[in-house]
């Protein structure tokens, strides 16, 4: 049996690892800039499908299906992003006589539409945030909504997701500009510039439920994930279980999620997202009809293998999990390592990874799409790896995360590790006192800067001494000194003007 992974990066690697363990051969597709990428090296077969631009490669259905035919693929796994939630692609895969590793196209189409999915929620009695079910026709309409429901509001591209094409508006004067920006991003990234509006629930937590359903009428929920630490609606840190969900709320969230699964005829693994307000009331946000970036924290805490399960479900096998067997053990935290520089307002930081030291030992898992020497291309999502720590309880997990962040060293590109190192020392993080606006507020304030900039005279003195000694060694080095500087370091190209510990104001 052969499976083609229509994706790249860490998720393509994750899926191929699962396939190897199941005895399934793997087929990689790759763009010109990914010729040396890990997912290509790991595959049993690999096919070039075009230039760097996603539209001409990883979004190019014809090329991908062509490779599948040449390679003799039996299954196609889309990963997340790219074509993962593209119903048309799912249908074409089926028409080619291939097995689509994901939910039925109808379910993708239904849940992919904010308006349709909200209608389903209403029908199944799952609570919703006040908002317009239909897309906005004009700025006037938007202003009318604000008139009725007040501010702040959230503008969402109908086809958006993963924080893309979402804009928060807190001031009436910003309405028009935000509307335009949301539409242009929607058009640019999802080929659909329709936008709708909803009331923004403040101090809410993003809590999502992992579900799995087979083609024989069985479905389970596999606990929840807390994903409240977001930057511009983009998840940055996720954990399982949620520190604020008790057994009762977990059951109620799970049952609401299963109602959506049933109502949508969903079959595969998937995620139903909710907002939970400070009073414990919850509202349906959307359903992600794919394998989620943050699936590992659920795997660690519930002892399941979601990739294996997903492939088995696609093959028509029965769900291997029973609700009563799904018991959480311990606590897991995932940090998304992005090639972005927290010291420069999260400017993208593409380039060559000149040093990569991964943490290891007990309770550490790294799902990575790069290795030392990899060149992070400018053309795709900036996430290069996921650091996942697991420990018997949350305090131990936080301590383990701090330890892992000490061991994790990346040079050549700037990464969000810098952010996590500051975050892990914060009292709010230790106490899990955060909401979806927490990180953005923190970045807007000076607190993180001050925290990161905490005087550490011992470390600073060591850095100064080391710098002087290393400079001396290099000054004395012969041209062929293997340790002499290799040049072409990219953090510089970003224009390093920032000061130590200075965060964007």
């Amino acid at each position: 049996m052969k499976l083609l992974v229509a994706n790249r990066g860490e998720i393509a690697v994750r899926i191929m690892r699962g396939c190897r363990e199941m005895g399934i051969e793997t087929i990689a597709v790759y763009s010109e800039v990914d010729r040396r990428a890990p997912h290509v090296l790991m595959a049993d077969q690999a096919f070039p499908i075009g230039p760097a631009a996603a539209a001409e490669s990883y979004l190019n259905m014809d090329r991908i299906l062509g490779a599948a035919e040449v390679a003799g693929a039996d299954l196609v796994h889309p990963g997340y992003g790219f074509l993962a939630e593209n119903a048309e692609f799912a249908e074409r895969v089926g028409h080619e006589g291939l097995i689509w590793v994901g939910p039925p196209p109808a379910a993708i189409r239904l849940m992919g539409s904010k308006t349709e999915s909200r209608k389903l929620a209403v029908e199944t009695g799952v609570p919703l945030i006040p908002g317009m079910v239909d897309p906005l026709e004009s700025v006037e309409q938007l202003e009318a909504f604000v008139e009725e429901h007040g501010l702040p509001v959230l503008l969402k591209a109908v086809a958006g997701g993963g924080g893309k094409g979402m804009r928060e508006v807190n001031d009436r004067s910003e309405l028009a500009a935000a509307f335009d920006r949301a539409r242009s991003e929607g058009g640019a990234y999802f080929g659909d510039d329709r936008v709708y509006v909803e009331r923004l629930v403040t101090n809410a937590r993003h809590i999502e439920v992992q579900v799995a359903a087979d083609q024989h009428g069985n479905a389970v929920y596999i606990g929840e994930r807390e994903c409240s630490i977001q930057r511009r609606h983009q998840k940055v840190v996720e954990e399982c279980p949620s520190p604020v969900v008790d057994a009762d709320l977990r059951r109620r969230l799970g049952e609401a999620a299963l109602a959506i699964v049933e109502g949508s005829g969903y079959q595969s693994v998937g995620t139903v997202e909710f907002l939970v307000d400070p009073e414990g009331g919850f509202y349906f946000l959307e359903m992600n009809t794919r394998l989620q970036v943050e699936h590992p924290v659920t795997e660690e805490v519930y002892g399941v293998d979601l990739v294996r399960e997903m492939i088995n479900l696609a093959l028509g096998r029965e769900l291997s999990l029973r609700q009563e067997d799904l018991v959480a053990r311990g606590h897991a935290i995932e940090c998304r390592v992005y090639a972005e520089d927290p010291l420069k307002n999260f400017a993208p930081s593409p380039g060559e990874i000149t040093l990569l030291v991964r943490p290891n030992g007990p309770g550490i898992r790294v799902d990575s799409g790069v290795f030392q020497g990899s060149i992070v291309p400018l053309d795709y999502d900036p996430m290069v790896a996921k650091l996942v720590v697991t420990a018997p309880d949350r305090p131990a997990a936080v301590a383990r995360l701090a330890r892992a962040l000490q061991e994790y060293q990346v040079r050549g590109i700037a990464t969000t590790l810098t952010l996590f190192r500051a975050l892990v020392e914060m009292e709010e993080f230790e106490k899990a006192e955060f909401h979806t606006g927490f990180l953005d507020e923190l970045l807007a304030s000076q607190r993180l800067a001050e925290l990161h900039g905490v005087q550490d005279p011992e470390a600073e003195a060591a850095a100064v001494v080391a710098a002087a000694c290393l400079a001396t060694l290099e000054a004395g080095a012969l041209a062929d000194d293997p340790y002499a500087h290799a040049g072409g370091s990219h953090w510089w190209q970003e224009g390093v003007r920032q000061l130590h510990g200075r965060f964007p104001r």
């Binding site: 000149t354 190192r421 600073e460």
Partner: protein, 167 residues
């Protein structure tokens, strides 16, 4: 060798002397014996001989005399200059010209908000650059008059490329 190790927060005068089994370092008038072992071109081990304190240091040189050092969970950016270079650098800094907006990263210009002759305030958006699926708004670092705009929407730019001039 004598060095000036500095950034916007700190400036240290450091005198380093090779001695058997390490270095004799005079930092701001205080002497320490250290051992520095380079493991590869990016990681070194620094040890203070007196009390055995040990630090794993990741390091990387940037352009010219720029260095970024990682000690534990902290990153430090320094210029490491000879005393002469330090003086020259100060002189150069003093005679800095008008402000110029450069592309911090390679990317595609999505929007240009200003035209030559516009008056802008500090923080006002000038250009929107798209990279890695995100739109990045580049703003004026000071108030002033736009004397030139070098790019137009749809154009791809390299890192460091001039986008506009202010004065």
């Amino acid at each position: 060798m004598k060095w000036v190790v500095r950034n916007a927060d700190v400036a240290h005068e450091v005198d380093v002397e090779n001695v058997p089994g390490g270095f004799e370092v005079m930092m701001d008038g205080e002497a320490v014996r250290v051992d520095v072992i380079r493991l590869d071109r990016a990681i070194a081990s620094l040890r203070y001989v007196a009390d055995g304190r040990s630090f794993s240091v990741s390091y990387q040189r940037g352009r010219g005399r720029e260095w970024r050092l990682g000690v534990g969970v902290r990153d430090f950016d320094f210029e490491v200059l000879t005393p002469v270079e330090a003086v020259e650098a100060d002189a150069a800094a003093a005679s800095s010209g008008p402000s110029r907006l450069e592309a911090p990263i390679p990317g595609k210009v999505v929007k240009v908000h200003v035209a030559e002759g516009d008056e802008v305030e500090a923080g006002q958006p000038l250009v929107v650059l798209e990279a890695m699926k995100m739109e990045n708004e580049l703003t004026a670092d000071q108030a002033g008059k736009v004397t030139a705009v070098h790019v137009e929407p749809g154009q791809t730019v390299d890192a460091g490329q001039a986008l506009a001039e202010l004065e």
